[in-house]
Every structure is written in C-alpha cells, then in structure tokens.
C-alpha cells in the first residue's frame, strides 16, 4: 500500500474510533429534557423523553439541586454530539470511498 493510502487508512481508523466515542457519549447522556408547566402561578417540573416511540411526560416534582443544569447541559451536548457524529460519518464515507480506488498511492 502506498504512503497516501496508509495515511488515509489510519485516518479511517481514527474516524471509526471517534464514531464509537460519540455514540457512547450519546448513550451516556441522561435521557430526555426538563420542562416546566405553569398552573395557577406555580411551576411543575416534568421530564420529557421517548420510550418505544411514544413521548412520555413524567412529573418529577421539585428537581434536586443541579438537576435543571444537568439536563440543560445534556440537551446542548446531545445536539453537539449528533452534529459531530454526522461530520464523522461523512468523513468515514469519504475515506472508504477513496480507499476503494485501485491506485497504489
């Protein structure tokens, strides 16, 4: 295998590792998001998440200290990781396509 293909193969391995890393990071984020429903001037906290294709709104009462921030961060990082995962998948597709070429470069 030529030098350039060697570099690309290493990049492909890096990208596959990164894909696994982002998929793991996504699995480890807490599921769902917190929402507040206001009734009679009071706020009621619900944890909203998907289960078997259905959206569940679970009443959680007064959230524990740090919980609101934890879920706010999780929502932000889920969006970030999904975007970066899509970038990595494009890199993988490009690298696999290039490596399929028969030239020994």
């Amino acid at each position: 295998m030529g030098v350039i293909k060697g570099v690309l193969k290493e990049e492909l391995q890096n990208s596959l590792g990164m894909k696994a890393g982002y998929e793991k990071a996504l699995r480890e984020l807490p599921k769902g998001s917190l929402s507040i429903l206001k009734r009679n001037g009071k706020g009621y906290y619900y944890l909203k998440y998907r289960e078997k294709g259905r959206v569940i709104n679970k009443y959680i009462g007064i959230p524990q200290a740090g919980m609101v921030e934890k879920y706010r961060t999780a929502v932000k990082m889920r969006k970030k990781y999904r975007h970066l995962l899509s970038v990595v998948k494009k890199q993988i597709r490009f690298l696999r396509g290039t490596l399929r070429g028969k030239e020994s470069i």
């Binding site: 030098v3 890096n14 990164m18 890393g21 990082m77 970030k80 975007h83 970066l84 890199q91």
Partner: protein
C-alpha cells in the same frame, strides 16, 4: 455552522489563556508553523499543511496553582477523551482536531504516559523535547502570549527525529517542514 479548524484552535488557545495555563505550554508540530507566519512576517513564508493533530509540549512539573481539568474545559466544544494503545495514552478527539500533550522523556525513558494531575491529562514522554521547550519564542496572538519553539530549533529537531520516526509519511514530511522554516 461548524467552526473551521483554525477557529477551533483559536478557541482552545483562548480557553487555556483564560485559565492561566497557556503560559505553561509550547505549541509544537505543524500548527507551530502556522503561527510562525506572525513571527516571520515575510510574504514568501507559507506554513506547512495543517493536520488534525495539534500538540502541546509541557514541562514535567508545572507551577502549583488551582487545578484546571482540560477535558472538562473543552467538553462543550465536543472533544471526547480517547485512550490509545496498551499504555493508555490519552488524546482529546474531535472531527476537526486531535489534541495531544507531550512531555520531555526522563532518564532511560518509558513508554508509559506521564500523568499531569493538575491538568487532568496524561502526556506522552518523547525524546529531544527539551530542545523545543527550552528554546522558545513568544508571540502576541490576539492579546495572548503564545510560546512556540524557536524556528531554528524547530527545524533542527525535525532533522534529528525524522530518521527515528516509525511512520514513513511523518518521516517524509519532517525535512520538508524544516526546510520551509529555514528558508
């Protein structure tokens, strides 16, 4: 919109600077040649091709101060911690950049990563790093003081290590990178 690679590097430098740790680090590798453009200020100079690898050299002992957890500091940028090889060398991974930390090898040398607790990282010990960390220049980049290896030492280091490289493609690039700086 995803930040460009250069924007990512600037953001990393900015965060390190804000936490007071940029002054401990010397930016080495191909990204140093990008910032040599500021030092040389010569139109005929052009940096080596930027890669995804960005390396920072650190001393084995850094001044005592409040701890800064680098993986935590860069968490919201989407960097994830990856461990490589049997020795668990740590890198911070992102589709645009792979961040690695290097320290000078001590004594007879060891393949084990060197833990820097104050920064929450482990660093790879490499031979001849002292050359780069003990002979530096400081440039002003967007109000931050950035340390780079002195260009002459950078080039000499490339000539010394290129024969020791395990990977041919890196070995091929080293003399080319050195000559760009010398010229």
């Amino acid at each position: 919109m995803e930040k460009s690679q250069y924007d990512l590097v600037v953001e990393i430098l900015r965060r390190f600077n804000e936490k007071g740790i940029l002054g401990d680090m010397v930016l080495i590798g191909s990204w140093a040649t990008v910032f040599y453009e500021k030092y040389f200020n010569a139109p005929q100079y052009s940096a080596s091709i930027k890669t995804r690898d960005i390396d920072f050299a650190l001393p084995r002992r850094i001044p005592a101060r409040e701890n800064v957890d680098i993986p935590e500091l860069l968490y919201d940028m989407g960097f994830i911690v990856k461990y490589f090889g049997d020795n668990g060398l740590m890198k911070l991974d992102h589709p645009g950049l792979i961040l690695e930390f290097i320290v000078p090898e001590a004594g007879a040398g060891s393949e084990l990563p060197y833990r820097i607790k104050q920064l929450g990282i482990n660093a790879q010990p490499l031979r001849y790093m002292n050359m780069l960390t003990e002979n530096t220049i400081t440039i002003d980049f967007e109000g931050m003081n950035m340390m780079l290896p002195h260009p002459v030492v950078y080039a000499l280091h490339k000539f010394i290590i290129f024969k020791r490289r395990k990977k041919q493609e890196k070995s091929d690039k080293d003399p080319e990178s050195a000559l760009k700086v010398f010229n």
